[in-house]
């Protein structure tokens, strides 16, 4: 079946910490859709220029160095929190910022394919809790995207893998180390059937943490050697970040790299620090320690021993670091496999999921079963000996349950003559409710008064793939039923808040999309100019000046030529 022109497309979106991208399944292949600049990855960055116009993607990312105060990156890490940023005089929550990225992706897709986006499947880290998933859903709503399904990133990666290897039978572990999150999923692939068996992760561990550790160490070094605190100013620390990112990347291939920070202080000093791979790996050891925990837990949940794993699939840009490969080899005794492009696998899988959801014939033979990443349950009190232990968490739908699923649990009254029961609904793994996340509450009334323990209530949790939780409570003696439905859209930001955010977004001024390649080239050149020294800087300054001048001419052909010249120069400088 080919897509009908009038119907529009169903896409998969990987909304990442550092990069986002969109993919679509067409003619039996997953295609990554390039953005306006012709690039496959769109940085998850938002910036506001001096005229109050909003920039999204590569030009915004480039402004992180030149205008750190007007630029926001890594906001995915604060999804589901109350945090907000003041960007160029506008207060924005992570939902709104994500919405800007999402709608930018959507525009790219619509421009590229010439069809409207009907529906999208968006990915989140498997270890995202309900709050973070709600925030993601809210972001989609603000962006005006029709999103019913939010899937887990490692599941998406597994889908992409299963789609590409329909015949294979294997026990897999997917390690997904993205910019800001780390996920581990344990799964079995049999003949096109992908069964997620267990997943675990750390929602606050990713490539960015490696950079941050490096920044902190370098800051201390510079403080000791040059008596300059690079953490003192936002723009210096942005420069340090870029320098560390660059050094981290070159350490993937070279044994040594240098961290170069230019334009420090009034005299525009250049600071240089030489770091060796072994030394930096030493700095990162605690992060690897943290990576062990989810790996161990996922295997434990699955009941597998490490030796049982046939293949370890590496996904996420940060798995390119040699230290991660070493980690995988030491844990599993076999090298990790990058069968799919690590940056793109998740978006590809999301596109496959979008097709699956629409019952597309291209994916007829593919099935995926996913699991609940967290346990869902209610509070209860238990009696042990002479003590009453309250505030305990009774998981009704346990983590690892294959979804959609329905599970029930019975509770009895605690006091003589008890007429009502208050249930609080929690999500989490701790035995005590106070350490879990509360996602709702309800009261069941009209229980016939009886001695303690005589009245029994059956609580049934039904959880579906779209995150819809239906709680049905039945008083056994009367047969009376109380139903509570918790869905993602009704929680977190309220409808009114989302509507307000949508209006606010509609009121934003954007850079005209036609001018985007020019703006991006300009911002990138500016960022490069701020971080290089010597002769390249002088040359770049000249070319940059002439590019600016030719932008005034408004002759598209001349501008294009100059732009390409500038980009070629940037490429040359970057390679040296």
């Amino acid at each position: 079946m080919t897509l009908r022109k009038d119907a529009g497309v169903r896409i998969g979106i990987d909304l990442g910490t550092t990069h986002s991208l969109a993919a679509v399944l067409m003619n039996g292949r997953t295609i990554i859709i390039p953005n306006r600049l012709g690039e496959r990855l769109t940085p998850s960055a938002v910036s506001v220029d001096t005229l109050g116009r909003v920039l999204v993607g590569a030009p915004a990312k480039a402004r992180e160095v030149t205008h750190p105060k007007d630029t926001v990156c890594n906001f995915k890490r604060d999804m589901g929190t109350e945090r907000s940023w003041n960007v160029g005089g506008k207060t924005m929550r992570p939902e709104s910022l994500s919405a800007l990225v999402l709608s930018d992706l959507r525009q790219s897709v619509e421009e590229h394919l010439g069809q409207p986006v009907l529906e999208a499947v968006v990915t989140v880290p498997a270890y995202f809790g309900e709050d973070q998933r709600r925030a993601t859903q809210a972001a989609c709503e603000i962006a005006g995207l029709h999103v019913e399904r939010i899937i887990n990133e490692p599941t998406a990666a597994a889908l992409a893998y299963g789609f590409g290897n329909p015949e294979r039978e294997a026990k897999l572990v997917v390690l997904d180390l993205g910019g800001g999150t780390f996920d581990v999923s344990v799964l079995e692939v049999t003949d096109g059937i992908i069964e997620i068996i267990a997943s675990a992760g750390d929602a606050r561990l990713g490539g960015e943490d490696f950079v941050e550790v490096m920044m902190e160490r370098c800051r201390q070094r510079f403080l000791a050697s040059d008596a300059i605190d690079l953490g003192a100013h936002a723009d210096l620390s942005a420069k340090l970040r870029v320098a560390c990112e660059r050094a981290k990347r070159s350490l993937s291939s070279a044994e040594r790299a240098s961290v170069v920070v230019t334009g420090v202080g009034p005299s525009a000093k250049t600071l240089t620090l030489e770091v060796g791979r072994d030394e930096v790996h030493g700095w990162w050891a605690p992060l690897l320690q943290r990576m062990q925990t989810p790996v161990r837990q996922a295997l434990k949940d699955a009941g597998w021993l490490r030796g049982a794993v046939d293949q370890v699939l590496l996904v996420g840009g940060a798995t390119r670091m040699p230290i991660v490969s070493d980690f995988v080899a030491s844990v599993f005794n076999k090298p990790g496999v990058r069968e799919l492009p690590p940056d793109e696998a998740i978006a590809m899988g999301a596109a496959v999921q979008a097709a699956l959801k629409a019952d597309d014939a291209q994916v007829e033979d593919l099935v995926v079963t996913d699991i609940a990443p967290f346990s869902l349950g209610v509070n209860h009190t238990t009696e042990y000996g002479s003590h009453q232990v309250g505030g305990l968490f009774a998981a009704i739908l346990e983590r690892g349950t294959v979804l959609p699923a329905s599970r029930s649990h019975s509770f009895s009254t605690l006091h003589d003559g008890q007429r009502m029961v208050e249930f609080s609904v929690y999500q989490g793994e701790h035995a005590l409710c106070e350490h879990n996340t509360k996602i709702g509450q309800y009261t069941v009334q009209g229980i016939p008064p009886s001695p303690a323990g005589q009245q029994v209530l059956d609580v049934r949790f039904s959880y579906d793939l779209n995150g819809l939780l239906e709680i049905e409570t039945t008083v056994r003696s009367t047969g009376e039923t109380h139903v509570l439905v918790l869905d993602r859209s009704g929680r977190g930001m309220s409808k009114a808040e989302i509507e307000r955010a949508r209006t606010a977004m509609a009121g934003l001024k954007f850079h005209p999309r036609e001018a985007l390649p020019n703006v991006a080239a300009l911002e990138r050149a500016e960022a490069m100019f701020a971080t290089v020294t010597g002769e390249p800087r002088a040359v770049l300054g000249e070319v940059l000046g002439s590019f600016r001048a030719c932008l005034e001419t408004q002759d598209p052909e001349v501008i294009r030529q100059h732009r390409e010249q500038l980009l070629a120069l940037l490429q040359t400088i970057r390679q040296h």
């Binding site: 096109g192 000996g385 003590h387 959609p404 699923a405 035995a431 350490h435």
Partner: protein, 371 residues
């Protein structure tokens, strides 16, 4: 869903093995995808879980670490952990288990599940004076699913144990006994009783009071404890799960301090010394009295039967008559103890033991009337 329905859903014969079940499940999965047919999938999954929960995971592993098993490095590791626990080196054992290799070893050993191994370690940690919550939360947050009954028992045992330790002063060796018992049999009531029984067996004099104090806190333990003590007394069965401590000397076994008898002996010795005026017979008699009094001051012999009778009284006082209660108590012992305890006396009559002495039941037969 019952097995027959499940077999019907999957289209299988009752003799289908795990492989056939999985194959049938996979085949039907393509027809009932979770995306397009959630209801169908749910039913299919339920059927599959119903069958697989019974089929491949049903062989009960042997929880005893003494069971014959080929000796591997992992077995040795497990033994090392147990050894550390035996010797009361809880911190060491704890550290070993935190290390993944040792956890794997315990995994082999304890029921094949981390949760089980961790549960036992959790108990050990609690008994090692770690505050219960802290111990569990810090070391084992990810080992349990939250409504695992064992975790709740852990929490409850933790609280009970804190309570106990604050009210009854117990010697450190008792901790070791109970900890070890918990590890072998994670049912708290039985474990506690076993620990107490072993403590009793090892050092009766010190155990007596501790046990009697404990029984007021833990009435439900009494009946198990009674059986345990009996089992230890009657015969040391060869399949007893715990290595027994060395047999104590008879004198050490049966002493409990009292005041009156030795005082009378010592006073008598002093009186004879004052009034005998060098009488030869008296001179030989005095040291005997003094030694007897001295020994008595250390402790009055108490027989097993008498201790059992006290246990029995305690059980009765808390309305927890054990299954085999009183069958090996002699009628005279029962009578003597019963004279100080009406419940025991009444019980003696009820089981017909005192009747054999030709005594009449003083309490008239009662008709039970429903309130």
């Amino acid at each position: 869903m019952d097995v027959d329905t499940a077999l019907g859903v999957l289209g299988l014969e009752p003799d289908a093995d795990a492989r056939a079940i999985k194959r049938a499940y996979h085949k039907l999965l393509k027809r009932h995808k979770p995306d397009s047919d959630p209801e169908g999938f749910r039913r299919l999954r339920e059927a599959y879980e119903c069958l697989t929960d019974d089929a491949p995971r049903s062989t009960p592993p042997d929880p005893q670490w003494t069971s014959p098993r080929p000796v591997t490095q992992r077995t040795l590791n497990a033994v090392a952990v147990h050894h550390a626990l035996d010797e009361g080196r809880f911190a060491d054992a704890h550290a070993m288990v935190i290390d993944a290799r040792w956890a794997d070893a315990l995994l082999d050993d304890a029921d094949g599940s981390y949760a089980e191994a961790t549960y036992r370690m959790g108990l050990a940690a609690i008994l090692d004076h770690r505050p219960a919550y802290e111990a569990i939360a810090a070391a084992y947050p990810d080992c349990f699913s939250p409504n695992d009954r064992r975790l709740q028992v852990l929490l409850a045992v933790g609280r009970e144990w804190e309570h106990l330790r604050s009210t009854a002063r117990l010697p450190p060796q008792f901790h070791a006994f109970v900890a070890k018992s918990f590890i072998v049999d994670p049912q708290p009531r039985i474990a506690l009783a076993r620990g107490l029984a072993r403590w009793f067996w090892n050092d009766r004099a010190s155990a007596m009071r501790g046990i009697l104090t404990l029984l007021t806190q833990y009435p439900s333990v009494a009946s198990v404890l009674y059986d345990e003590v009996r089992a230890l007394d009657d015969a040391i069965s060869p399949d007893m799960p715990l290595p027994l401590p060395p047999q104590p000397t008879p004198a050490a076994r049966l002493r409990v301090p009292t005041l009156w008898t030795p005082l009378v002996l010592v006073v008598a010795a002093l009186l004879i010394a004052v009034f005998s005026e060098g009488n030869v017979a008296a001179r030989t008699f005095i040291p005997v009295l003094l030694v007897g009094g001295g020994l008595g001051l250390i402790g009055r012999p108490l027989s097993n039967a008498s201790f059992r009778a006290r246990l029995l009284s305690s059980c009765l006082a808390h309305d927890q008559p054990p299954a085999t209660l009183g069958t090996n108590l002699g009628p005279f012992r029962l009578l003597r103890e019963g004279l100080q305890n009406d419940a025991l006396l009444e019980y003696g009559f009820r089981i017909g033991r005192l009747g054999r002495l030709g005594l009449d039941d003083p309490s008239p037969a009662q008709e039970t009337v429903a309130p």
